[in-house]
Amino acid sequence: MELIIQDLGFIIGTTLMYSTPLIFTSLGGVITERSGVINIGLEGMMYFGAFAGAAVAYFSQNPWLGLLCAALGGAFWGLVHAIACVSFSAEQIVSGIALNFLGAGSALFISRLLFDGATQTLTVARKIPQPLDFLFGEGKMFPSSGFMDLVFNRFATVYLAFFLVFVVWFVLYKTKLGMRVRAVGENPEAANTLGINVTRIRYGAVIMSGFFAGLGGAAMSIAVVSRFSNTLISGHGFIALAAMIFGKWKPQGALVACLLFGAAKGFEIFLGSKGVPVAGDILAMLPYVLTLIILVGFVGKTTAPAAIGKIFDKGDHS
């Protein structure tokens, strides 16, 4: 019994840990798509954020500064996407694909410059801290490696992610700004006739999506692990995108979906650690297979914002 509870704690703990980067990134997806702009460049922005976070944390020895710079780095690529898609009416998918290459390429380029030609950073001295650590251990409130420790002794990014789900939900549904963002994503022409600046709203939303994807990347590189490497992100941005769709473009929905994908990863690690006779490569496929199954089988008819991906043209430039 004891053992089963501990196993359960282990699975929940790893689920939380691996869901966190996805949660940040898919929140970014929710924000941009709610404003009507598709951003499949989240993967690249996450990739860049993972690198920037680790590099800054390594040199400054300050994980918080790393996290901030990761977010700003992601936001920068978000700005590029916004310029292409909003100002120049570029095809959003194409710009997104380009950004996936640009985000990853620029991260590797800078990495080679800073780390002697390596496509990975060195291990950071200080990772994102675990704020509740003082509660666990010998003679503390909870024993170490017990259920409570496994579940609740998590990196600050985990708590931040949950908090931001609430914040994004609140802003989108309870504030003036959020209502305008949703209106622009549903019917930009209508918003325009009411004097709402569609361009400005979309710029803000796309930049914020990059900001969140950057956070997601750093949540991977300086919390889950302690350095950036070129295979670290490998598709997490796309899984976050799928989670957003599975979550029906809602922050709380995206949260549930990310937890599900995180759980798949948790199981993979759990089964691996128990030495079940299944090849590790097969286990590692679990989250991706789950993504496919869910998208094909369970999402069904979703309600995307009505104006998603459509170019808004004020119609008159003379």
Binding site: A183, N187, T193
Partner: protein, 510 residues
């Protein structure tokens, strides 16, 4: 009619010219509207009425010309400036966020908030309720737009402008999509608004509405100002003549003709709507060669579903539809169109009639692209396609005369002409026309009616569905009255009487 304050000029547009590329949509137009006045804008489809109003509302920038609002010269380059100066516009195509509530749509862009930009939904709802009571515009503040009737959606649009304190209201074809009952309500609303000192600019193609509501009328033809008249001093015929530039006949000329063999035979048809409610209830109908059969009825009595079933867009629950003796019940639209020669002028031209992003030529071959004239093996014969379009544009007087223009940039009337050109050129045995003149100017209506009669004279059958009783009585040879999904009476158009039909439409017995 409310008192007009002639000492106060609310809107003064002078010398407005608007060009789209080389095309001049407005040329040197002047418009003056006083406080408390209802001013109608009349003009053919594509004359430039919407364009002129978009200029006033700041959605389009005029190439030249000046605008004064309440005596103040303004450069309105943005709707925000128009809104700030008390101008509100209800657009020809509604500008509503379907998934938002009535209140959210009304306050959007002008939200009442608590601190930190948090929405104050309760206060907003109270304001909306208050405003709707003040002007007699009944709406459910909490309902979602997508669940509302067109009439209610329009009230939301009007409330949107009033909420922003508009004193000058632009209504772009507000009655085109309304039922007669809703139109009566709108007339009352407009009179409430002018009593409150507001000025109204209304665009409509219905001359009787102009006579009924407007004080003055400005007529525009092909982008140019023709005349501004005092409505009480002109007749409907004079208005029509000024607008089209020639006499328009309101009566459709047609020779008596003996109908031939049976083309359409509908027996005991039952159809459900998308909510699963049976809306066509054992309908029987026969139609012959060389005959126009008009279906008269109040909106929502199963007309839409009947037509959808007839054209293969909806499945019948039971019953049988035959065309020239062959069963077409529940066949695919493609088979019905091409094998059984049934053409369809759909009710909703934007959703079903056209591909907006395609150009005129491409829209013209939507049903015949695979025919040898237009395609060979795997390629389209573009030369033939554009030649075909040029012929149809000429024959049906579609403007602009350019086959490469996207369907969406045509005016409503010209979009309708395109559809008619395509459907008629497909040489159908049976032409199903649903609300074919909705939103059209009197000249275009005359044209459409003539096209329908021409089909009939060629020995084809025409099924006309319209909510305008005048139209049905004018054009048809026989009139079938539909009520709650059943034909409750068939009358000969020559000796049909409006009262009798009205009574049948309301479910009474003649």
């Amino acid at each position: 009619m409310a008192a007009i304050d002639f000492s106060h000029i609310a809107v003064e547009m002078s010398g407005i010219t608007k060009k789209f590329g080389d095309f001049v949509a407005n040329e040197e137009i002047n418009l003056t509207v006083h406080r408390g006045e209802v001013h109608a804008l009349l003009g053919e489809n594509g004359a430039g009425k919407t364009t002129l109003m978009n200029v006033l509302y700041g959605l389009l920038k005029p190439s030249t010309g000046t605008i004064k609002i309440n005596g103040k010269s303004l450069n309105i380059f943005d709707p925000n400036i128009a809104i700030k100066n008390g101008i509100g516009m209800v657009h020809q195509h509604f500008m509503l966020v379907e998934s938002f509530s009535v209140t959210e749509n009304i306050v959007l862009g002008n939200e009442s908030t608590k601190s930190f930009g948090i929405l104050d939904t309760e206060r907003a709802e109270e304001e909306v309720v208050h405003l709707s009571e003040q002007y007699g515009l009944t709406v459910d503040a909490k309902a979602l737009i997508q669940d509302l009737s067109v009439g209610s959606q329009q009230r939301v649009e009007i409330l949107k402008t009033l909420y922003r304190g508009a004193n000058i209201l632009i209504l772009d074809e507000p009655t085109a999509v309304l039922t007669p009952q809703e139109i009566r309500e709108l007339v009352a609303i407009i009179s409430n608004l002018t009593k409150a000192g507001k000025s109204i600019i209304i665009i409509t193609h219905k001359l009787n509405e102009i006579k009924q509501m407007a004080d003055f009328c400005t007529i525009i033809r092909r982008g140019r100002h023709v005349d501004t008249v005092k409505v009480s001093e002109v007749t409907e015929e004079e208005l029509a003549a000024k607008m089209v530039g020639r006499e328009v006949s309101f009566k459709v000329a047609k020779e008596k003709q003996n109908p031939g063999e049976k083309i359409l035979d509908i027996r005991e048809l039952y159809v459900e709507d998308s909510r699963g409610v049976m809306v066509v209830n054992g309908l029987n109908l026969q139609l012959h060669k060389g005959e126009i059969l008009g279906i008269a009825g109040v909106d929502g009595n199963g007309q839409t579903q009947l037509i959808e079933t007839l054209t293969g867009l909806r499945k019948a629950k039971s019953g049988r539809i035959e065309v020239l003796g062959k069963n077409i019940t529940n066949l695919s639209p493609g088979k019905i169109i091409n094998k059984h020669k049934v053409s369809h002028i759909p009710e909703d031209r934007q959703k079903r009639g056209l591909v907006f992003e395609f150009d005129i030529a491409e829209n013209m071959i939507l049903e015949s692209y695979f025919k040898p004239a237009f395609s060979k093996r795997f390629t389209l014969l573009r030369q033939n396609i554009y030649k075909n379009a040029a012929t149809l544009i000429e024959k049906f007087d579609i403007r602009p005369q350019d086959a490469t223009v996207q369907a969406k940039s045509l005016s409503g009337g010209n979009q309708q002409k395109m559809i008619i050109a395509r459907e008629v050129s497909n040489e159908p045995e049976l032409l199903v026309a649903a609300q074919p003149t909705r939103g059209l100017d009197v000249g275009a209506i005359e044209y459409v009616h003539q096209a329908l009669v021409a089909q009939r004279n060629e020995g084809k059958a025409v099924l006309l569905v319209s909510f305008e009783l005048d139209e049905v009585m004018n054009v048809s040879d026989r009139i079938a009255v539909i009520f709650e999904g059943k034909i409750v009476g068939v009358l000969d158009a020559d000796d049909a009487d409006e009262k009798e039909i009205g009574l049948l439409m309301a479910g009474g017995t003649a």
